[in-house]
Amino acid sequence: MTTPTDERVPVTVITGFLGSGKTTLVNRILTEQHGRRIAVIENEFGEVGIDDALVLDAEEEIFEMNNGCICCTVRGDLIRILGALMRRRDRFDQILIETTGLADPAPVAQTFFVDDEIRDRLRLDAIVTMVDAAHVLEHLDEVKPDDVENEAVEQVAFADRMILNKVDLVDEPKLTAVESRLRSINSAAEIVRSQDAKVDLDRILDVGAFDLQRVLTDDPAFLEQTDHQHDQTVTSVGFQIDGDIDVDKLNDWLGELLGYRGVDIFRSKGILALENQSRQYVFQGVHMLFDGTEGREWRPDEPRTNRMVFIGRNLDRAELEAGFRGCLVNS
């Protein structure tokens, strides 16, 4: 959901394996009549030159912020390019960042948390992961050496939206199986089916990061999902709990949790009812870094229900839920 007071420019990050249709999607966004003025940052210069769009080239440059902590790697090239973009007089309605097929989404996302200039003016709206319906299972199942991440799993885990592309190339049972597999990793992200990357752009641009309300309302199974405790599988844990949250307790708990579990917790997201606040608090974290903004007003007839999602490895639902309950004002 978009914070009414948030005037920061939304940034959409498009990830996905080579051949999944990222470039087709970006070109579609650039050429479609949507009335938005868009700046695109991509790793290879595309062929498309469009009047209303600015296309900039980036060369992936990852560095560590805090002396070697892998959870605080950021993209130095993006800090520079986004900084230069913000100095222009023309205001963009939307910025797109297209990553390379093998890119780890974490440094891209973390860039929006650690640089003040960027955080003040830009908002990470959504990570959109393109998935090739015909080949994604092979990529997800690929066995990597112990210390190497499976990039396909990471890209799915980090997604706020997944575009299941090339649906014309596989039959319905296979599609259902692929969707089920994607949801087992990341049940918080909506899956949009497409052919030739034809997607309603309103479902991927300026969507307000994640609509937890929808996910947690429409998919109650998510809330009772069986746990995969103590295995290396990447899964999601979500819960909704009524009651007001004590901000200090929340900060202490999240600080500690993400401090020692931040490597395994890829993403955390929440829409929370903070004590004495009439507006929702929209929270999101990437590994150890987290941030929050005010959301919309709670409606008078609406229960003050906190919704929280964690995506990562070795997630222990009972531990997470107990920890969160400890942040309630009356706990």
């Binding site: 130095g76 090239d77 520079r80 390019i81 640089d115 200039e117």
Partner: protein
């Protein structure tokens, strides 16, 4: 010593681009570059002489000390122009936010992507060395070139391929200065610290922290005694006399409400000018300030748009630029 500064507006121009950097030539002419790629040359009294779009987006500009060349850094490389804004040479190949002419004006050092390049004034490439990440600062130490990138500053001889002297720092460097007396090198960093090395004395390093945000602008006074730094809304000035600022309290200028974007000392070193995201350009006398006690400043000009850069002309005028295309000159007497 009096802290009084008087300022008088002498001209104002519009370059029709968000000003990114300004530079003043020896004869007082001004070069202005913009975020949308323009290069504008102004006469010493602020009249637009030439204006053209030279790149997809400019990042830096520098007049040669001889005044007959102006170098422009952009998101895709650098170009060198003559005084009529005719392009003499162009070097494409990556991000160029760092430019430095040698003291005799015969050589230009530039960061281009992950390389540091030295070219002659006519564009002939004299040296190229590669780093692992983008070069974000260049400076001369006599005839050697210092280049800042993630991991520290490397100092190269231009004419031979001997190994670089390395001034190490684990982090992302955003700005580099060398004191005019060549005793000190300092970097402003992404992690909101100022790192200082004694040039030629391996291991003698200082780190100053406490800044609220990353440090993107640094300026040494002409006599090398004071280093002014941005990194948040305050201007922090460290005293480098003797063994340096370790353990000392800095002088603090608290005039800006938003992040400081540019710093420049008057040619005689008495007045420091600063530009800020709040649109203000301010001037003060650091030598009259007391360490540890913030002071205000003479406010020269405020514009609704962010003030993005400031410099001094050799004649003693403060020249500043704003994101709305305004460039203004002020005669300042300290």
């Amino acid at each position: 010593m009096t802290a009084t500064i008087t300022a008088q507006s002498i001209w104002r121009a519009d370059v029709d681009d968000a000003v990114v950097a300004v530079a003043a030539a020896r004869d007082g002419r001004i070069a202005v570059v913009g975020a949308e790629g323009s290069l504008t040359l102004l006469s010493a009294d602020g009249e637009v002489a030439t204006r053209q779009v030279v790149s997809p987006g400019c990042l830096a500009v520098s007049w040669s000390p001889t005044g007959d060349r102006v170098a422009v850094g952009s998101i895709d490389g650098f170009s060198v122009f003559d005084t009529e804004a005719q392009q003499i040479t162009a070097h494409r190949g990556g991000w160029c936010s760092a430019l430095a002419w040698s003291f005799d004006g015969a050589r230009l050092a530039a960061g281009v992507g992950r390389s540091v390049v030295v070219a002659s004034a006519d564009g002939t490439q004299l040296m190229r060395r590669d780093r692992d990440s983008t070069v974000t600062g260049v400076a001369w130490i006599k005839s050697r070139v210092a280049a800042a990138a993630y991991g520290g500053v490397h100092v190269y001889h231009v004419s031979d391929s001997t190994a670089a002297d390395i001034l190490p720092f684990t982090g992302s460097l955003l700005a580099l200065v060398i004191s005019p007396d060549r005793r000190w090198a300092a970097s402003g960093n992404q992690d909101a610290t100022l790192h200082v090395w004694r040039v030629g004395r391996q291991g003698q390093e200082l780190e100053m922290s406490g800044y609220p945000t990353k440090i993107t602008t640094l300026a040494f006074s002409p006599d090398s005694t004071l280093l002014a730094s941005g990194g948040g809304p305050n201007v922090t000035v460290w005293d480098f006399r003797g063994s340096g600022p370790k353990g000392s309290s800095p002088r603090v200028l608290s005039a800006h409400e938003k992040v400081v974007t540019g710093l420049a000392w008057s040619p005689d070193g008495t007045v420091l000018a600063s530009s800020g995201d709040d649109g203000l350009v301010a001037a003060w006398k650091p030598s009259a300030a007391v360490p540890g006690r913030p002071v205000g400043a003479t406010k020269l000009w405020t514009d609704p748009a962010p003030a993005t850069t400031v410099t001094w002309s050799p004649a003693g005028a403060v020249v500043a630029g704003w994101a709305n295309g305004v460039v203004a000159g002020h005669e300042v007497r300290g």
